[in-house]
């Protein structure tokens, strides 16, 4: 298990390095001048050149890349090209709002998704299964930003139940403002989780140990929760690990539509303004977060699944 952990950890570091190198290549390839954006239209050529030199933008790509990684080892992500503030501070100030949003979306997706998945499998072919099937496909096919706009129009503008913009201050205000964006991001995942869990449960129900349990006369509820769900839930953990990555990338829509701060909006704005240090810093932090979540998901599956655990211990 320890060896497995070390292997996965090394692989994760490699993923982060590849992402950063690819990002550097991409930002180098796209046109646009951060110096002009940072200094405004009235900056003369001399000032622009001085800015590029200060930010290291006049250096060859490989030198910039080397400088970035050496700074990174010192825990320095550079400085915001526009405001001059440390990138790490800016990114860390935005990260919590995105994490709250992703967490809220996971809760929105998970609770009804698991419930629907269990009920659909338990009453296979019944009315709940059919409704769940239709709803799942319908919600999955609507983009998050469309859901976001309709939620806003109905629940903020028409009914006035929820605020339309911002992340709020204080626990209850933050929670209140989190509801609609979380719904916008999480709704599509309800159906996805429900369908995966349903399929996994049905597969597990045909396994020998379940038949044996039935033969012993155990109740269906006991079989479901003690024997089936423990194994059937495992594929969902992996899917959820990937899903969190998807939610992180979709967060930008919710953040723009709901006028919320967050990493997605930060990167979006930074790309527009060619604020490369912010783009690189924010992508690095989210990549690390995503890699950690996936690593945790893999380790959790390995730990929960007796078969995998057994394979690894040999």
């Amino acid at each position: 298990m320890a060896l497995y952990f070390i292997k996965r950890l090394l692989l994760s570091v490699l993923v982060v390095v590849i992402v950063i190198v690819a990002l550097f290549l991409l930002t180098y390839a796209i046109p646009g001048d951060p110096a002009r954006v940072a200094l405004g239209p009235r900056a003369n050529a001399e000032l622009v050149a001085e800015f590029r030199q200060r930010m290291g933008l006049d250096q060859p790509l490989l030198v910039q890349l080397y400088n970035f990684f050496t700074s990174l080892l010192r825990g320095d992500l550079g400085r915001d090209a526009v405001s001059g503030e440390p990138v790490l501070n800016t990114v860390l100030s935005q990260l919590p709002d995105t994490l709250y949003l992703v967490l809220g979306s996971v809760i929105v997706a998970l609770i009804p998704g698991v419930l629907l998945g269990i009920l659909s499998a338990r009453y296979r072919g019944g009315i709940i299964d059919r409704i769940s099937s239709v709803l799942s496909v319908s919600v999955m096919s609507v983009p998050a930003f469309v859901i976001a706009i309709y939620l806003l129009l109905v629940f903020s503008i028409q009914l006035g139940w929820f605020p339309a913009i911002g992340a709020g201050t204080g626990f209850w205000d933050r929670l209140h403002r989190l509801v609609l964006p979380s719904l916008a991001l999480g709704l599509a995942w309800i159906g996805y989780i429900a369908r995966i869990l349903r399929a996994s449960i049905l597969e597990e129900m045909n396994e020998g140990h379940v038949r044996t349990a039935r033969a012993f006369g155990l109740s269906e509820n006991k079989i479901m929760f003690d024997y089936v769900l423990r194994i059937a839930i495992l594929p969902m953990i992996t899917v959820l690990g990937i899903g969190i990555g998807q939610m992180l990338s979709s967060a930008v829509f919710a953040e723009v539509v709901f006028g919320r701060p967050g990493i997605g909006k930060l990167v979006f704005d930074a790309i527009i303004s060619r604020n490369y240090p912010i783009v690189t810093g924010a992508v690095l932090v989210t990549t690390i977060f995503f890699v950690i979540v996936n690593l945790a998901a893999d380790l959790l599956v390995a730990w929960l699944n007796p078969k995998v655990r057994h394979d690894l211990s040999r």
Binding site: I30, P31, G32, D33, R36, V37, A38, L39, G40, P41, R42, A43, N44, E46, L47, V48, E50, V82, S83, G84, E85, T90, S93, Q94, D97, L152, L153, S156, I157, G160, F162, P163, A164, I165, G166, A167, V256, V257, F258, G259, P261, K265, L266, D269, I271, I272, S273, R274
Partner: protein
């Protein structure tokens, strides 16, 4: 509620008003109408307003956006300011109590007493004015705004609160944009030096009606009342500025009750004008920002002036403007708005499809010209480009619309990005403006080719006029100069002037806004209604 702003700000008019008041007061100087230091009254409350971006630099020598400028106005005492709630651009006193035109290159001034800096930096004095003005003009600092003090020789301090601005040449924008603008901010030398000579988003000192209470980048900026400010009344305890780039999001936020004040998108102006949200009013202003189609004469296919003229003649400007603003704007006759001197009344060329076809035939490109029009990815630009595409198709020119996100778009005409500035052909462009005509024309000189002059417009007379108009103090002569400059632009075949960008703002009924004639908010003057 619609506001029409058709008056003009002229230096002569401005000085004339001051002189009359000065004479009436028998002071031999030019006092402003109201310079008494007022007691701040406490009404409390929070004003929540949308700004289109976050702050990026609050140093008066290095600010970059209109949002920076709005915030700087709240944090630091300016020499002068603009009147709000009026139809014409008029200036008023802030830090400067009075000024005196000694001659065309010597302007005496007196500061209000009792303007206190935060911390241990004491009271504002003429030494601070000298330092602040000369700092921006200093070539070594290399401020992007040093041209605001282009002809400053030095500032002579004559007393604790008095001094003389000494110019090498007369400078017309001094009273229209320099002193009332950000370059007129007065800061103490000790504070700036303690900050290392310049600063960005953490001011080392405050001298204005508000100070920063809390800044959460990209989230909100909270300004709180500055207890040391006694120059004017300040109504709100706090101003919360929320950066929301997308105007549609801001509109929804306002309708949901999250904002007290929000500038909206141009395309929403007709809708809100006829039907503002409950509990709010809508105000429309004629903005100063200008919108036009550029035609790049450096491009091989557009080198022939007849071809460019044919394009000018083919475009139906009224339809283009209607499409892009959904009826919210009218076609413009130039790049200088009607509120300013130098504004033209009519274009030199109107739509003439037959003449356009004839010119294309004469140029040998009838029905064989394929061009591109480059635009930033917005609904307004796309609508305008589609009409232009249809107009040009009528005369046999096929146009492909290329849409770009803003970062890429703004690099298209830049020499620094290689030869692509020669490849760009037609493009839609919008520039912001300050209330002096020199701000409109300064981007089209030969030196700006490959920087902001994407048309490649290269006219020696224009360049000479640009220089001359800056030092011309006679309003009528200046007016003629700027009109001539726009004539030259249009005659070159490089420009199709489209419209001045209207400004629409939603204001909660509980708020009495303070807006400049061009709709720009002066937040520290907002009051509960």
């Amino acid at each position: 509620m619609e506001r029409n702003n058709k008056n003009t700000l002229t230096r002569r008019g401005f000085i004339g008003t001051g002189a009359t008041l000065g004479a009436a007061a028998g002071l031999g100087a030019l006092p402003f109408a109201s310079s008494a230091i007022a007691e701040s009254h406490v009404e409390g409350g929070i004003l929540t307003a949308r700004v289109y971006a976050d702050i990026s630099n609050l140093d008066p020598a290095f600010w970059t956006s209109e949002v920076d400028s709005l915030v700087i106005r709240c944090l630091f005492a300016h020499s002068m300011g603009y009147e709000t709630g009026v139809d014409a651009f008029e200036t008023k006193p802030v830090a400067m109590k009075s000024y005196e035109i000694i001659d065309e290159t010597h302007i005496g001034f007196e500061l209000n007493q009792g303007i206190m800096y935060s911390g241990d930096y004491g009271e504002m004095t003429a030494e601070d004015a000298k330092y602040s003005f000369e700092r921006i003009a200093d070539p070594e600092l290399n401020s992007p705004y040093k041209e605001d003090w282009a002809t400053l020789d030095h500032v002579e301090v004559t007393g604790k609160y008095t001094g003389v601005i000494v110019l090498t040449e007369p400078f017309a924008p001094l009273f229209t944009t320099t002193l009332p603008g950000v370059s007129g901010v007065i800061l103490p030398q000790a504070a700036i030096e303690a900050a290392g000579g310049q600063f960005s988003v953490e001011p080392p000192v405050y001298s204005g009606p508000y100070r920063i209470k809390d800044w959460q980048p990209k989230t909100r900026l909270i300004l709180e009342r500055n207890p040391d400010w006694t120059l004017t009344d300040v109504a709100y305890d706090e101003i919360h500025l929320i950066p929301i780039e997308d105007p549609k999001t801001a509109e929804l936020g306002f309708e949901a009750g999250d904002l007290d004040f929000a500038e909206i998108s141009v395309s929403s102006i007709p809708r809100y004008m006829s039907n503002p949200p409950a509990g709010s009013t809508f105000e429309r202003f004629d903005g100063l920002a200008y919108y036009w189609m550029g035609i790049n004469e450096l491009n091989d296919q557009l080198k022939d002036k007849n071809v460019r003229r044919a394009i000018q003649l083919a475009v139906d400007r009224k339809t283009v403007v209607d499409a892009s603003s959904l009826g919210g704007a009218e076609p413009a006759a130039g790049i200088i708005a009607p509120a300013l001197i130098g504004s033209r009344e009519a274009n030199l060329y109107d739509r003439d499809v037959e003449e356009s076809k004839r010119l294309l035939e004469e140029a040998g490109v009838a029905n064989s010209l394929n061009l591109t029009i480059s635009i930033q990815q917005t609904a307004e630009n796309l609508a305008a480009a589609q009409v232009i595409q249809a107009n040009l198709a009528e005369v046999g020119i096929q146009v492909t619309i290329n849409q770009y996100e803003s970062g890429t778009y703004w690099s298209l005409g830049s020499k620094d990005e290689g030869d692509q500035y020669l490849d760009i052909q037609l493009f839609l462009m919008r520039f912001s403006m300050q209330p002096d005509p020199s701000w409109a024309t300064m981007w089209f000189t030969p030196q700006q080719i490959g920087v902001w002059n994407w048309q490649g417009f290269d006219n020696a007379e224009f360049a000479e006029l640009q220089e001359a108009a800056q030092i011309e103090l006679d309003t009528e002569k200046r007016d003629e100069m700027y009109k001539r400059m726009q004539d030259l632009m249009e005659e070159s075949g490089d420009f199709v002037f489209l419209n001045f960008v209207p400004v629409g703002s939603l204001v909660r009924d509980t708020v009495n806004p303070a807006l400049r004639p061009d709709g720009v908010p002066v937040f520290y003057e907002f009051e509960p209604s």
